[in-house]
Amino acid sequence: MSKVIVVTSGKGGVGKTTSSAAIGAGLAMRGHKTVVIDFDVGLRNLDMIMGCERRVVFDFINVIQGDAKLKQALIKDRRLENLFILPTSQTRDKDALTKEGVKAVLDELREEFDYIVCDSPAGIERGAHLAMYYADEAVVVTNPEVSSVRDSDRVLGLLNSKTALAEKGDGSAVKAQLLLTRFDQNRSANGEMMSVDDVLEILAIPLLGIIPESTSVLKASNEGTPVSLDEKSPAGKAYLDAVGRLVGEQIEMRANPGEQRRGFFQRLLGRTA
C-alpha cells in the first residue's frame, strides 16, 4: 500500500522543502521506494535542495500536459537508490496544475512507489490545495512562533475539509502530524519562542518531531544534500527520528537529539520535552 504524504504549512520559509527532502531521503534510507514531488510550480526549489538541478529535462507539468512520460521526468537520486525526484517547472505557474492531471500522475506513482512525498508551496491557494488534495497523511511544518502556528491551524482546517478523503464524507480524514522546525531549546526556555507544549495545545495534533535550529541545515541546502544524510548533525538525527515515527516506530522525543556530552542533570532534565 503506497502512501501519499503532503508536507505543508501555510506560511512560507518555515522549512517545507528542506523537510520534504529530508523525509524523502530518510524514507529511502530505510529501504522504502520513495518519490518527492515539487508542487511549487514557478518557484522550482526542491531539485536544488536535493542536488539534481542540472539533471532536470522534463518536469511535473510536462507530464500533466502529456508532453512527457512520467519515466522521463523522474530523476533518480545519485546517493540513494530508492529515492526519486519529480521536479516542477520554473517557467509555468500554478494554473498549469489540474485536479485530473495531479490525480493521474499520483495514481501512476502509487503503482510503483511506497511513499509519495508532496512538497507543497506556501499559501492556501491552488498549488497548496492540489498538493494536499489527494494526500493520505500530512506533515504540518511549523516554527515555534505565533504567525506560523496560526497559519498551520488554518491549513489543518483545510486538511479536514478540502481534501479527497474529507470530501468522501464517511468520516475518513487525512492523518496530520506536527513537525516543529527551527526549534531553539534555550530561546524557548527564556520565553523568546513558543514552547512545544504551547504549540501542541493550539494545534491539537500528534507531534512527529522537533527539528533543532542548526547551521547544518543551511549548509546542507547550499550543498544540495538532504540534511538527513548528515547523520552527525542534530537536525539530521532529528529528521531520521521523525521519519521513524512516520513509518510507525516508537521513538523517544528529544528536544535536542544532537547534544553530546551532557551532564547528569541535563540528561535527566532534557527528556521532558
Binding site: R150, D151, D153, R154, L156, G157, L158, N160, S161, E201, I202, A204
Partner: protein, 249 residues
C-alpha cells in the same frame, strides 16, 4: 471569503446589465376539462369572492387533467378570456408535447410542473399586495455539535439553536449561534451568541482567550476585556446593555 465583489470593484466596472436568479410566486389554474360556459361561470363566481386577490396575478394554466386541449386557437381563446378577467396568463405547465407546441404558438411558455401550495393558505389571504407566498413552516430548534477543534479561518454556524464545541476554538475562527454557545475547551477566536436577537443567550467556555464576544449584537473585543476578567470556567451574558463575564467556579 467567496462573497461577491467588494464595493470598490463594483464601482470600478460599470456593466450595462446584470443577471440575477429570481423566483416568483404564481397562481396555477388547474383545468379539469375544456373551458366551456360552466367553467367561466364557476371562474367568475370564484373571482368575485376575492376580487382583488387575483387581479393581475401571474397565472399559469395547468393542463395535467385537460388532455384534449391541444390546439393553439383554443388556448389563445382561453388566454384572451382570462386576460379579460384581469388574470395575467403567461404560460402552461404539466402539458403534453402537443400541448406545449400549441402553447408556444399561442404565445405562452411551457413550464415544467412546479409544486402547489396548499389551497387554504392561498385562499385565506385577501390582500392584493401579497401574491400567495406560503408562510414558512415554523422551524424546529436544531442544536449543533462539533467534536473537533475549530481551526483558524473556519466558521461554525448554528442558525437555529445552541452550538456545542467539544474542543478549542482557534484564534481566527468564528463560532456563531442563534442560541447559546458552549465550548469545552479554550476560546481563542470569536464567539457570537443570540445572533437573531436573543438577549437571553449565553456563552460558556472552559478557558477564555477570545478575540471577540458578542450576544445579540452587543460585543466586547479582547482589547477591552480588562486584566481582571476571569479566564477559567466562565459564562458571558447580557445584563441590560452590559456584556458581563463571570466565573462559574
Amino acid at each position: 471569503m467567496q462573497s461577491g465583489k467588494s464595493a470598490a470593484e463594483v464601482v470600478a466596472t460599470v456593466k450595462p446589465f446584470q443577471i440575477r436568479g429570481r423566483s416568483f410566486t404564481a397562481v396555477a389554474l388547474h383545468l379539469t376539462g375544456r373551458p366551456d360556459r360552466a367553467f367561466f361561470q364557476a371562474l367568475e363566481a370564484r373571482l368575485n369572492q376575492t376580487p382583488l386577490f387575483f387581479e393581475n396575478a401571474p397565472l399559469v394554466i395547468d393542463l395535467e387533467l385537460a388532455d384534449g386541449l391541444d390546439s393553439a386557437e383554443e388556448l389563445m381563446r382561453l388566454t384572451a378570456e382570462l386576460r379579460r378577467r384581469k388574470l395575467s396568463v403567461f404560460g402552461i405547465q404539466s402539458g403534453t408535447p402537443a400541448q406545449a407546441r400549441a402553447a408556444n404558438e399561442a404565445g405562452l411558455i411551457s413550464l415544467p410542473a412546479g409544486r402547489d401550495v396548499a389551497l387554504e393558505r392561498v385562499t385565506r389571504q385577501g390582500s392584493r399586495s401579497v401574491p400567495a407566498t406560503p408562510a414558512p413552516a415554523p422551524k424546529e430548534p436544531a442544536n449543533r455539535m462539533v467534536t473537533q477543534p475549530v481551526r483558524s479561518g473556519q466558521t461554525v454556524f448554528a442558525d437555529r439553536g445552541d452550538l456545542v464545541i467539544v474542543g478549542s476554538v482557534s484564534s481566527g475562527a468564528e463560532v456563531i449561534a442563534a442560541g447559546n454557545i458552549h465550548i469545552y475547551g479554550r476560546l481563542r477566536g470569536r464567539a457570537l451568541a443570540g445572533v437573531n436577537g436573543d438577549t437571553s443567550a449565553r456563552i460558556f467556555c472552559h478557558a477564555l482567550d477570545a478575540e471577540l464576544l458578542a450576544i445579540a449584537g452587543l460585543y466586547r473585543t479582547s482589547e477591552n476585556l480588562g486584566a481582571d476578567t476571569p479566564r477559567q470556567y466562565v459564562q458571558v451574558y447580557l445584563q441590560g446593555e452590559v456584556l458581563r463575564i463571570e466565573s462559574l467556579k
